[in-house]
Assembly symmetry: C2
Homo-oligomer: 338 residues x 2
DNA sequence: TGGAATTGATAAACCGGTATAGCTCCCGAA
DNA sequence: TTCGGGAGCTATACCGGTTTATCAATTCCA
């Protein structure tokens, strides 16, 4: 018999459907002997629950969603997402919950997806990335009453659950390291200004500057693309008093920046030190290999999955879990200034 | 009222549940006037079908799956998958079918996922990538009777539906281009030997060699990683009669190879020409920018989605759709030999 | 004009689970 | 001896759709 149902098992075991359901879900209502017998029969017939049937009855679908609103062009190179995804999956697979992934162009489309998912009951909860300051998604999700966890941004005022690392401390670590090497002119090529983590990193640089005696510490925002990263670098290196070190908010921009430096005949790390605020193979493929901030992105994703499952189980308590601080991996692209 | 059901609509319209179902699915059984009225009411109440309920009744879940069996480490840098995914989604979204994505470690795990998906009725079909020669997945999927489409490998003997590009012609184009530039010693750094496309590319090089008067045209297999790409390059460039051109099966390996050349003081393209068999931002970030084979990966994914939907609708006819041939984008990394 | 075919709709079964009311037995306490 | 109560199980409603059998009203055609 193909794809046995709970009714088939009931017949074989000589009990009712209800008893089988109790036994298979480990809840009281049947004796240990009967439970044992039912489980064995289910095993023999290699029974597996029909996800739709279960979803209909129990009104949960054992599936969570994740929408990434970035143009696919910039997405591919970011190892960040691949690691994050793997981590999320590993966190979910323990409970055999499945993941729906969607890549869309912008936040409006993303919100549309949440609406659709909710009305069609396709997911039990969602994972949010790239939180902006006054992010419209937060309100929307609360209105939809869809459990959610934010990755990489503190939920703030008890809004949504979150899993976050301290971007501020990380940025301070980088700047302090560069200052200790002797750098006094440090530039910061930041990401999209409305991302919360971008804001926090910019503030960290600004706050640290006077304490470390930096002469100049501008933060310049970009769209995270290699093109803008390159353009800003070109501008910075053309100034009369150019920076002796540049911190990039992503590995892709750092690589683009390195390219510009080479193009302009600025030696790295001799005349310019480069640090990437994110690690990946990319930074190691370069010559010189880039000094970068290493975060355990896989674990990040795993924890996000855990927190989401807890939030789905109990939507009233909002969890804000902090992950271990990232560490700076020093490679060949940083040295004392000339 | 939150989340109206088909019964609510029926009450409001003063008809039966069945009539509403007919109207909403555009099938005969109701008059045009009634249909109109029901549709308007459904619209007003912003009704959306409950996916689980529909799945249970119609025994299709409007969801397809895709499993990628590669270590996450190498995945992230490959823009290939991001584009492919976006394409697949765009092909599915037209029918508002959702996509389940899973990244696993190996093929055994992948097959396990297919079994689970089938027994739990979680997907209507799947998309396969990285087909190997005698791929165990093909047999398994046929046994499970799970509709599937293979990306990038001809299904062969009427096994599974497929969407493919001609890797042979593409490789020939590259080799002919290099030969025309005057190269006679061309090396090929290939991918995993058991992938079908790797085999086809290797054969293409071997077949073309005598015709183009190549002195030497070895194909060396790797695991697609930057590390092996670099190692092989190092070996090739250390030989007494080293190649004047190298073709890499992936952009990541090409970048790694370029790094090795620079490290060893071999100028590109002066002493060595480099071609990547896959295009992405990566190749453009480099200095010199890499000549690469550009494929419309997005469209590839879109077509795969289309073919899969057709296969699900009618599992008896096996579609083998050929996509447009890729084109060679010449950049700065290729030139006549010294 | 009468019987057959067609149209438009309804009621009810069904998909495969979960949840719950209720029934039977058995045990222990009053 | 009776009654309360819990353990163990059954029967059944239910989730929100789809599908089929059925039926009344109309149209068609001989």
């Amino acid at each position: 018999m193909a794809r046995p149902t709970i009714a088939d098992i009931a017949t074989r075991a000589g009990v009712s459907k209800g008893a089988v359901s109790f036994a298979l879900n480990g809840r009281p209502g049947v004796s240990d002997a009967t439970r044992e017998r039912i489980l064995k029969i289910a095993e023999q017939m290699s029974w597996r629950p029909h996800s739709a049937a279960r979803a209909l009855g129990a009104s949960r679908v054992d599936s969570v969603g994740m929408v990434i609103a970035r143009p696919a062009r910039t997405l591919g190179v970011e190892p960040f997402f691949a690691h994050l995804l793997s981590g999320v999956q590993s966190g979910l697979s323990a409970e055999s919950i499945s993941l729906q992934l969607l890549i869309v162009e912008d936040t409006a489309a993303e919100i549309e997806v949440y609406r659709r998912w909710t009305s069609e009951h396709r997911v039990d909860g969602v994972i949010l990335v790239d939180l902006t300051v006054k992010d419209p998604r937060v309100e929307e999700l609360k209105a939809l009453e869809l459990p959610a966890v934010v990755i990489g941004g503190r939920g703030g005022k008890g809004a949504l659950a979150s899993v976050w690392a301290d971007d501020r401390d990380a940025m301070l670590a980088i700047v302090e390291y560069l200052a200790a090497l002797g750098h006094r002119r440090i530039a910061h090529v930041a990401g999209t200004p409305n991302f919360q983590h971008t804001q926090r990193r910019i503030r960290a640089v600004r706050d640290a500057a006077p304490r470390l005696g930096l002469l100049d510490a501008p933060s310049l925002t970009t769209d995270f693309s290699d093109a803008e990263g390159a353009a800003i670098t070109r501008k910075l290196l053309s100034q009369s008093s150019r920076p002796t070190a540049i911190v990039y908010d992503s590995d892709v921009m750092a690589v683009a920046g390195l390219g510009v430096a080479m193009e302009m005949g600025v030696s790295v790390p001799g005349e310019l030190s480069i640090v990437a605020f994110d690690d990946s193979i990319l930074t190691q493929l370069m010559h010189p290999a880039l000094t970068a901030l290493s975060r355990d992105t896989f674990d990040f994703g795993r924890q996000a999955a855990e927190v989401l499952l807890e939030t789905i189980a109990d939507p009233t308590t909002v969890i804000n879990r902090r992950t271990p601080d990232p560490v700076l991996t020093v490679r060949e692209s940083t040295a004392p200034p000339a």
